[in-house]
Symmetry: C2
DNA sequence: TAGATTGTTAATCGATTAACAATC
DNA sequence: TAGATTGTTAATCGATTAACAATC
């Protein structure tokens, strides 16, 4: 399918290349170079060329990269050629903000099911969707074959929700709960943790 | 002040240690070990000991680490002994969710000022705060000496807002706008980008 | 052709891990 | 004391960068 030996950090940079290329394309630019991409992203040209070389040859010597072609190749590599269904668990303030996040739709991540455990929240409508009872999470995820999930529940519930999702067939989780979540190694996990980010940034601030 | 040669990736792990230690303390545990911390976080014990050794000696051979002591030391190292004022720019759905984020208060990051450019939003109240006009951003940030900012504006406005913040004295920015933001090297920047995260996770999912 | 830029190799740089003496 | 665990060194591992032949 795909080489399992490509470093994860390389995979993480591909979406950045894709986004910059998309902006260039919207601006009507047909050709770019590793140097130009690197300048936008603060990444060295050599690294960009090396990253791309894991997947093939996409440029022409002396000339650079054709923007539209490289976009199509990156979408193919990242499996972004079709839309992905996503389940969202935890409909608090953050969950609601994510449910209406236009950037997800724009990039063909469709939130197709919402769940919460609070009886006050279950049954509420958000746009076209109705919040389901987390008790039904396993059944819905497995019957619909959903592979991607976003967790926005309190820390205490995150591990349990993750376990249910994985058992139901989810293969990748975006976790907003401020807690470590353990997953088997065949499941991808990204945690988004603004408090941890602020805490590490505080290190670099002088005390007053 | 502090050694500038400590790897950034080490600094990023310290908040994870701090959070796990805090959970252990809440559970009434007085002593822990690099092995136990590592098991919670999926980090090797050797790495935890090495990370801590950049800052001093905090454990006892044969015994481990005193939880409360290590917490206090990590807070000191990360400059978390006092509260930090934070300015939040961009009061959309995500901005509102962040404004009411209890985890920030819990960790003594106080959002003390809100800004937006939309006349419909300016003047609205969120809890104790009123949304200000982004035109006043520079004046408020510089007069209050705010060093930390969260950006939750649309992509097109992120760079301009960042430039204003930095000019007004902000030294670290948590960026939720889905766009690369360039900052001088004496300013810290963390970008939170759920779409990029989902895109890189999609790589690991088989197409169907 | 001359200039530019790719793809790739080898060198460098940096982070992680294994191992163990010190010692509680 | 015996067992356990730290702090640290050296070895290993992996990622980034520099350099350049190939060639558009």
């Amino acid at each position: 399918m795909h080489s399992p030996d490509i470093p994860d950090i390389v995979i993480h940079r591909l979406p950045l290349y894709l986004r910059t290329l998309t902006i260039l394309e919207e601006q009507g630019q047909a050709i770019t170079s590793s140097h130009e991409l690197g300048a936008h992203l603060d990444i060295s040209p050599a690294q960009i060329r090396k990253d791309l070389s894991y997947f093939g040859e996409f440029g022409k010597q002396g000339m650079g990269y054709e923007v539209g072609f490289l976009i199509s190749q990156l979408k193919r590599i990242l499996h972004l050629s079709h839309a992905w269904d996503v389940v969202l668990v935890g409909i608090g303030d953050l969950g609601r903000a994510l449910a209406s996040h236009s950037g997800l739709k724009r990039w063909h991540f469709r939130i197709v099911a919402l769940f919460d455990k609070d009886p006050q929240v279950i049954g509420q409508s958000l746009g076209p969707l109705t919040v389901g009872d987390v008790a039904d999470l396993h059944a819905v995820v497995s019957s619909r074959g959903i592979k991607l999930a976003i967790i926005a529940v309190p820390a205490e519930e995150a591990q349990g929700v993750a376990d249910t999702l994985i058992e139901a067939g989810v293969r990748a989780i975006l976790n907003y709960a401020p807690t470590p979540v353990n997953v088997p190694e065949n499941v991808r996990l990204h945690s988004i943790d603004p408090v941890a980010s602020l805490q590490s940034m505080a290190y670099y601030l002088n005390e007053e």
